[in-house]
Symmetry: C2
Subunit: 404 residues, 2 copies
C-alpha cells in the first residue's frame, strides 16, 4: 500500500504567492470595476529586449532546419552560454570561474529548491528571517526542518537569522552552528544588501565552521553602489564554501522565458567528495537541459546591444523603485531597500499586521503588495512592494496610497 | 560541518548515456577520419515541423511587445495548452481528464525523476528489468533502494520484474508486493508493448494491493497496432491508481525544445490525501513553469497542420525502424520491437556481452548503439538501436552491420 511523503503535509497553508493571487482574484471578482495595480509578485512587465527577440527568432529558424536543428542539449548547458557567462559575470570582475563550474538551468527557483538534495538530511539549515519561501519549503519537503510551531511560525530544526531594522535588515552570525547557510543579496524581500567586507565575514565564518553558503544573487543587476559585491566569489576563499545561484528573470525579464544558472566550484568538497560532481550527477539524471532557443536568448543578453538594452530596463525599474521609496517616505512611511534592489520594504502603519495592511491596501488603494509576514515571522509588521510595474501604474499606486 | 547526501555516492558509475557519449567521443578522437553513425540515444534528428516553427515565431513576437508580453506562467501551465491536451489526448479517446489534472513541465525526464518525491521514503518500487535508468537512479538519490550488489547489479530494496524473451519482454506480477510500480509502454528500451487487456490486469492488480502505477507513455505516438492502449486511463479504474507521464520529445521532436506533462487524477488518494494536491504543491514550490513560447509550440502540435506534419515525422522514423528490424533479421539477428516503438531490441551475436557488442559495433561498423545491460541486468546480451537517425544513415548503418 503506497504512502505519501508526510513532510508535504507539514507545510502550513499554501505557497505565499498563490494566496496573494487568490485574494486579488476574489477582490477583483467582487469588484469588477476596480482597476487593481499589482506591485506584489516579483514579475517583470517590460517586453524582452530587441537583441533577445532577434536571437530567439534566429534560434527558432535553426530549429526548423535539418542542418542546424538541435536535439538534447549537453548536460551542463551549451558551451557558448557557459563561456559567455564565465567571461562576463566572472572573469570581467577578476574572478576565475571555469565553464564546467557553471550549470545552466530553467531558472533560479528550481535550482534554489533542488540544491538541498545533494546534502545530507541531517544537515541543519540557517535562513534569514524574513526569507524567500522556497529555501525553507524545499527543505521541509525533504524532511530536514523538524516540526512546525504555529505560534512562533518556526520550524524546530531551522536556524533563523532575524533581519530587522535593528540590524539594518542584515543577518548576524547565529548562536547555533549551521551546516548550510542560505544568503540572498541584494535581498528578497527586504531589498537590503551587504558590503563586500560584510560578505567576506560570512565566507570566513563558513570556512571556519565547515558550512556551505547557498548564495542567491538573482538581483545582482540592481546593484548601484560601489562597495556591494556582485558575486560571492569576489570574497577570498569563497570557492571553498559557496554555491552561487543566478537568474535571467530580473536582469533581462526572463520570468516567463525561464533561464538561470548555478555555480558549483570544483574546489568545494566534503572530504573527498566534490559537490560539483554531485550536482552534475543530479543535473544529468533529473533534468534534460534548458531549451536551445532559450539558451541562445540568454547568450544575447551579454551581447553589446543586449547589455545596453537590458541595462535600460533595469534603470527603468530602478526609477520606479525611487518613485515608491521617495513617495512613501514623503507620506510618512518608514521604508528601506530600493537602492540596490527592486524591492521596497516598508513598515506597516498604525501597528497593523502585514495581512491587515494587505487587505487595507487592496480595499482602499486597489494596490496589491506582499505581506512581510509571508516571508517569515520577523517580516510581521512589514510589507513588500516591487518596482516591476509600469512607470505610470507605479506613480498612480503611490498617489492612491498617499490619499488613503 | 556540512555533509553530502550519501545516497548519491551509492550510484554505480555514471549515467548510462554519458558513458556512451564518452566512448563515442574517445573513438572519434582516436579515429578522426571515421564517420560514426549514432543510433544510440533516443534523440530525434528531423527539424521541428512548420506549424511549430510558426507558433514559436509568433510567440516570440508576443514576448517582444508590451501588450502581449508574458511573465510568470500559471503554476500548472497555461490553460490553452492544458485544454488542448485534455481534448486531444484524452477526450478524443473517450477518456475524461480535467484540465486541472494536467501539469505542464519541462519534459518527461524531469517528471519521471521528480514524481517519487511525493511518496514516502519507505515505499518499495517495482521496475521492469531492463528499464529507463532515471526511474531507479532518482529513487537511489532519495534513499529508497537499499544497498547495491555489484555482482547481481541489483538494489536490495527494489523489486525487479525481468522482461525477457520468455515473457515477450513484458513484466509479470512480482512475488513481493510493491507500493509503486513503474511501467513504460511502448517500452524503452525493448520496444515491446502490452495490449489493453494486459494493461487492465496491471490496473486491477494495483487497485487490489493499493499500489500506484507511474505510467510512462512517452512513446504513445509510435503505436501502430489497434489493441495497444494509448493512455492507461483507457483501463477501468486507472484514475484511482495511476499517474501518467507524457512527452513532446518523440511525437514532435522536442528533445531540445523541452516540454512534457504529467496527469495526476483528482481521485487518486492515499486515505484523504490527494496526490494531485501534493504534485501541485511541488510544482508551485520547486518549478516555475515551462517557457510561454514553448507552451505555444506545444499547442501547435495539436493544430490540424501540426498533427499532419508530426504524423509524417513519426512515419519517417517508423520506416527507419522497419529498415533496422528487417535488415537485421535478414542478417540473422534476433530482433524485437520497432512496430509500436522507435526502438529495436536485438540479441547480441556469439554470446557477446552488451558492452562487448557496443565496442565491436563501434570499431567495425562505426555505429553507436546502447548496451542492453546499461538498462539493467536482464538487458545483458541485448542491444538497443533507435529509429531516430536519418533514413540515409540508418540504411548505411544496417549495410555496415550486415558486412561485419
Amino acid at each position: 500500500m503506497f504512502k505519501v511523503n508526510d513532510n508535504y503535509l507539514k507545510l502550513p497553508g499554501s505557497y505565499l504567492f498563490s494566496t496573494v493571487a487568490r485574494k486579488q482574484r476574489e477582490y477583483q471578482t467582487a469588484n469588477p470595476d476596480k482597476k487593481i495595480i499589482r506591485l506584489s509578485i516579483g514579475d517583470v512587465t517590460l517586453p524582452l529586449v530587441p537583441a533577445v527577440i532577434d536571437a530567439l527568432h534566429s534560434a527558432v529558424d535553426e530549429m526548423g532546419n535539418a542542418e542546424t536543428f538541435k536535439g538534447y542539449a549537453p548536460d551542463l548547458g551549451y558551451e557558448f552560454l557557459r563561456k559567455t557567462i564565465a567571461d562576463n559575470d566572472y572573469r570581467a570582475r577578476g574572478v576565475n570561474i571555469d565553464e564546467d563550474e557553471i550549470f545552466i538551468s530553467d531558472g533560479a527557483k528550481s535550482d534554489s529548491a533542488n540544491i538541498q538534495e545533494i546534502f545530507s538530511l541531517d544537515n541543519k539549515i540557517a535562513v534569514c528571517d524574513p526569507v524567500y519561501p522556497v529555501y525553507v519549503d524545499s527543505n521541509v519537503m525533504a524532511g530536514r526542518t523538524g516540526t512546525y510551531d504555529k505560534d512562533t511560525e518556526r520550524w524546530s530544526d531551522v536556524i533563523y537569522m532575524p533581519c530587522t531594522a535593528e540590524t539594518d535588515f542584515a543577518p548576524v552570525f547565529p548562536k547555533e552552528e549551521p551546516d548550510i547557510i542560505y544568503l540572498c543579496f541584494p535581498n528578497n524581500p527586504t531589498g537590503s544588501t551587504v558590503t563586500k567586507d560584510q560578505l567576506q565575514q560570512w565566507v570566513d565564518y563558513a570556512l571556519k565552521i565547515g558550512a556551505v553558503i547557498i548564495y542567491d544573487a538573482a538581483y545582482e543587476a540592481y546593484i548601484s553602489e560601489d562597495n556591494v559585491p556582485h558575486t560571492i566569489y569576489e570574497c577570498n576563499g569563497a570557492k571553498g564554501c559557496a554555491i552561487e545561484l543566478r537568474s535571467f528573470s530580473k536582469n533581462a525579464g526572463f520570468t516567463g522565458t525561464r533561464l538561470g544558472f548555478t555555480v558549483v566550484p570544483k574546489e568545494l568538497k566534503s572530504n573527498d567528495v566534490s559537490l560539483n560532481a554531485l550536482w552534475a550527477r543530479r543535473h544529468g539524471t533529473k533534468f534534460n537541459g534548458a531549451p536551445y532557443i532559450i539558451q541562445r536568448a540568454g547568450e544575447a543578453v551579454y551581447s553589446e546591444e543586449g547589455k545596453k538594452q537590458t541595462a535600460q530596463q533595469v534603470a527603468y525599474y530602478m526609477n520606479n523603485a525611487k518613485v515608491i521609496r521617495e513617495g512613501l517616505s514623503s507620506a510618512g512611511y518608514t521604508v528601506s531597500g530600493g537602492v540596490n534592489a527592486p524591492y521596497i520594504w516598508l513598515r506597516t502603519p498604525d501597528k497593523m499586521t502585514s495581512w491587515e495592511f494587505f487587505d487595507y491596501l487592496l480595499e482602499n488603494a486597489n494596490v496589491v503588495g506582499t505581506p512581510g509576514s509571508g516571508f517569515g515571522p520577523s517580516g510581521e509588521g512589514y510589507f513588500r512592494l516591487t518596482a516591476f510595474g509600469s512607470y505610470e501604474s507605479t506613480v498612480e499606486a503611490i498617489e492612491r496610497i498617499k490619499k488613503m
